[in-house]
Symmetry: D2
Subunit: 360 residues, 4 copies
């Protein structure tokens, strides 16, 4: 498992920046990867960095980002610091010629994220959004099924992510949790998430100063709809996404390890409609399919292990990562429109993409 004999290319060298909540997971996965040498753990807090380093077999630590970026032996950095620091750290890393993967949210503002994307492109560097959930076996399978046309055209996406959660000091529940749902939806829909407006409804019934309960509604192309429910105040934990299509419907229940993904060959068929005039639409023949359910076997690889492999492949193949900067920007564009909708009392608010970077 831990044997590093598979890779033929020379290993890439990575530094992990940020040794807080997420950094240890990055460190562990880079350390175990056949593609990577974990070169350094960087954090202003040396004790924190050391604890992470100890757990992966005594990697060097550094308290200086400049030092890490100045090291010519380092190819890439993985950034797991607070959102507001993403822009300066990423810009410095890109300036130093390093490839970058950065934790969600990609940036604290789409405008600053777009600058990061432009710079990476100008410098010919990989800038990856570490949308970790996209690399779970479940989401990779969902993307594959939709791409293969197994669901048909997508009719709706309904995502629920609720649990008793820490009330974050700096962000509301939308910015804390919805990036997961948005990045997943963006990843599995063939053209990415293409909402042109967002309606956001939030509630702060405890008076914390920020939304603790949130609902996002987005019309998608072709009359489809996406909806996300995020909630910090629910004592019952639900992580479920239903993706309805014209041919089949898929349910992803992330808390059911024995059957995370189910594909239902059931649904509503609307036949004879192509010939129907507008006034005939009520007479359209509707029928129901009640077919089998099928649960694909999923690999048991860890998402971050897949992410580190993708990061290495993108660098070696000189291509965009599957979750590239553009996907990071699309997620930010929805979050910013959600903020606009909240400010407008819940009225739908247009989604503005500052820089529509082409997806690879």
């Amino acid at each position: 498992m831990n044997e590093k004999t598979i890779s033929v290319s020379p290993r890439l060298r990575v530094g992990v920046v940020g040794a807080g909540y997420w950094g240890p997971n990055l460190a562990r996965n880079f350390a175990a990867s056949p593609d990577w040498d974990l070169a350094v753990i960087c954090d202003l807090d040396a004790d924190r960095a050391q604890r992470v380093a100890d757990r992966v077999g005594g990697v060097p630590i550094s308290q200086s980002l400049d030092e890490v970026l100045a090291d010519p032996a380092i190819d890439a950095v993985a950034i797991a610091t607070p959102a507001r620091t993403h822009h300066p750290i990423v810009m410095a890393a890109l300036a130093a010629g390093k490839h970058v993967t950065v934790e969600k949210p990609f940036a604290d503002e789409q405008r600053r994220g777009a600058e990061m994307v432009d710079t990476a492109r100008a410098n010919g560097l990989v800038l990856m959004a570490d949308h970790t959930y996209c690399y779970t076996p479940a989401v990779l399978k969902i993307r594959e099924l939709i791409a293969a046309g197994d669901l048909g055209d997508i009719l709706f996406v309904d995502s629920v992510r609720i649990n008793l959660g820490l009330i974050q000091p700096d962000v509301d529940v939308f910015w804390d949790l919805a990036p997961h749902d948005l990045s997943i939806i963006d990843f599995v829909l063939p053209g990415g998430i293409d909402a042109t407006s967002v309606a956001a409804h939030g509630a702060d019934p405890l008076g914390t100063g920020k939304s603790c309960i949130g609902y996002l509604t987005m019309p998608l192309s072709g009359g489809a709809i996406a909806h996300i429910h995020v909630n910090w105040l629910s004592p019952t934990k639900i992580r479920q996404m239903v993706i309805g299509g014209t041919k089949r419907t898929l349910v992803w229940d992330d808390l059911n390890p024995q059957q995370r993904v189910s594909v239902y060959d059931r649904g509503v068929d609307l036949a004879g409609q192509s010939q129907a005039t507008a006034s005939d639409v009520h007479a359209a023949r509707i029928s129901y399919r009640l077919g089998d359910t099928w649960a694909p076997a999923l690999a048991e690889t860890e998402a971050l292990s897949n992410m580190t492999a993708e990061f290495a492949s993108a660098i070696r193949e000189k291509r965009q990562a599957r979750t590239d900067g553009a996907s990071g920007l699309r997620v930010l564009s929805i979050l910013e429109a959600a903020k606009g909708s909240l400010g407008a009392g819940g009225a739908p608010y247009p989604v503005e993409i500052l820089e529509r970077v082409e997806q690879s």
Copy 2:
């Protein structure tokens, strides 16, 4: 079970009007009730009426509503006909001096429903909304727990009612399914549902001419929020309501017969806030309770049996039923605001109560 020896009052006599989907259930429960004699099954379609009559032991049938209403031996009628016919039938029944219980939705328009309520009051008759779900043991228990303060102040209500459903010829998914959720929320919240605006988002991705997927969001008093998700296109069936309170949170999972109602003594405590100024609010001390879960035992009575008993009691005690006309109107007021919001592209729309009848 079926023995009719409990009741001491003389039995009331009821006619069931409408022998379609719901009428047989009404017939069966009135027939089995110690409070009622089932006098007649009335339907324009004699065969349909006869089949219902046969299953309850040979009750008389009638094809004429006038005949039924003219019978002085009949005290009350239970109406299970299409929504657009509720107003004329109810008005005729009230004019004939009959007490009335009427299936959801109470009427097809709030204005016409208000006329029914006014007439019943003027005539001193009971006019009950047959909000059947409110009489399930689960909902009765939820109402009781909230009234006793077990949940504290209500912070949020999130209701999901999704399943593969028949696309109705005349109503959209909001009018078909949301009356259940709205009537339940209205029933369990101490002051009834008090939303002043509603945002509705619908989708019709199959092009049926009406919303098949719907989301309703309503701010409640005190910063709380209610949200309802109804969906005809989901192959996976969910009927779940989460009610969060300052003290405890309740989850009602109607498809888990072994534990329908769970009360979680978990949540977020926000302490020291009363002293805090607005700018201090981020520093408010937040703590988490991780206490026990408790699932109250529920009676195993059928909801309609409880409904028929309540209808009889209201008549005998000359009082409003627990689900009275006013509750029917409140549900209609939300549905009409939802229609307004849909027409306004999802912007929040004010709730207008034409006649705010006092709840008993």
Copy 3:
């Protein structure tokens, strides 16, 4: 649904004998069947009979079995009386030339059951064991899958049927509940249940005078094993059967209406064994398949409706019913061996089949 237009043969006429717990279900299904006319409800208690008759639209009642059996217009009787009365009633019915279906357990003793089977055969009449569970869509599908070889050779059957149950006055938990499991196993295994010995372990920790908790273990041919757990004292309800095969394994969870039957393409493969000598067996190459899970769509027909159809077909086609008297005897043979094992302190006890009637 209720329309009786499908059948072309003239309808058969049936009397239901016994109007207690099970009789009303029989009456309802025969009344709704296109194959049958429900001719009479027979019970010593006229009130009880009348209540059943009323619910199916006013069928005649009788307090006299002799009267029913003497009626030449009656083709068949369905018997739902206490087990100890099965033998005399069935023998009388067969003597009167009636076809018979009889509730489980088939008889109170295998010896008496065998006499019933012999008499039916001698008289050219259908004698059916009403093993109702065998006619559920789930069990019919399981039988079909195993017959088609989808599971490969059967390795084990593990059945759990536990719930808070009424402590029966006359039978222990083995005779009350295990007939369900045994009849199902007999029905789905290609050659019927072929155990040659049974070990039974019971417990009566409340001192009721009979086992309230029971375990049955039976070696099956080919090194396979069947095990049944029945329990009246469990507050949690489980009805689950796992059937492991060399190719796939099937789980039937009867309390999960959304996915009752799941087929797992997972398991252990033992390769290269055929060439192996006894001493090599530890070196046999073992591998694991981790394939997909598949849940077949199931019809939504009621089991008793399928049973009444099968009863009619067997009569018309002059053949044994799928759950014939022989299957009833096999179930009794296991129950009697279980009694022997209990008497022997749990030691395995041989299964004796008094009359091995050939299965059609």
Copy 4:
């Protein structure tokens, strides 16, 4: 969490012997414990030892058990080597004056285990059975509830532990899995497991040369019964224990992290029995309680963390550990009786306790 500031006593020093499957978990927990200094990882395979050492921050390694035992600075050893090596390693460690905790099964033979217990007692050393499951928050809570009388007298214990499992080269499914169930039952029952006989039924339908499916049945004192189902061939994973008592019944579902332990205030009451003569017993008044369900909040500590704390406390307080050598012997006595029963074709086999060591 990782801060080692709580402990006031000087830390004890431990060596972990065996760096295979379980050793890394021991190493991680001893390293994180405020009670312990992890002094050395010992394994014949230096690479394996080094990998474990690396993951806990660079602890020394050794390939020589003698060297480890000769080190006077080491107070204790934790042994995670194959079962057949437990006896020689434990005996050597005790001879060297080290306290010992040893992985399950305690030894490969009760006789050898008893020698270990005698030696530890003679030398005044702690010899602990690392029955890890007993230190999960769930099992600790179950023990506490039973000890407090919340369940009343125990009527039955039914344990299921089935999953697709590796077919072990040296042990059958009884010796591989049942030690978990047996050690748990021994831990939670007030007097420990007191079965006087065991019936074991195994099956090896794949011809692997050992039982892959196993059932154990044990009468307990007072008419109660314990039953264990272990299975390597089940593609569906179940880890569930039901413990029925005269007052309440408890269900532990280890795969339901949101509600692992449920206490049902439901059951059967047998009243008036004390006055009843034997012949009256059928007339005993039986009633059913259908009360609430309650799920206690559980701590989220790791079992091994609790185990290391208990090991340290037992050493410091010079007392037996909660899972002492005697409990290890009781588990072995059942496993050996099970082997006897298997050899006797499933007939109940007496449990022989070679050395009934008093439980602390």
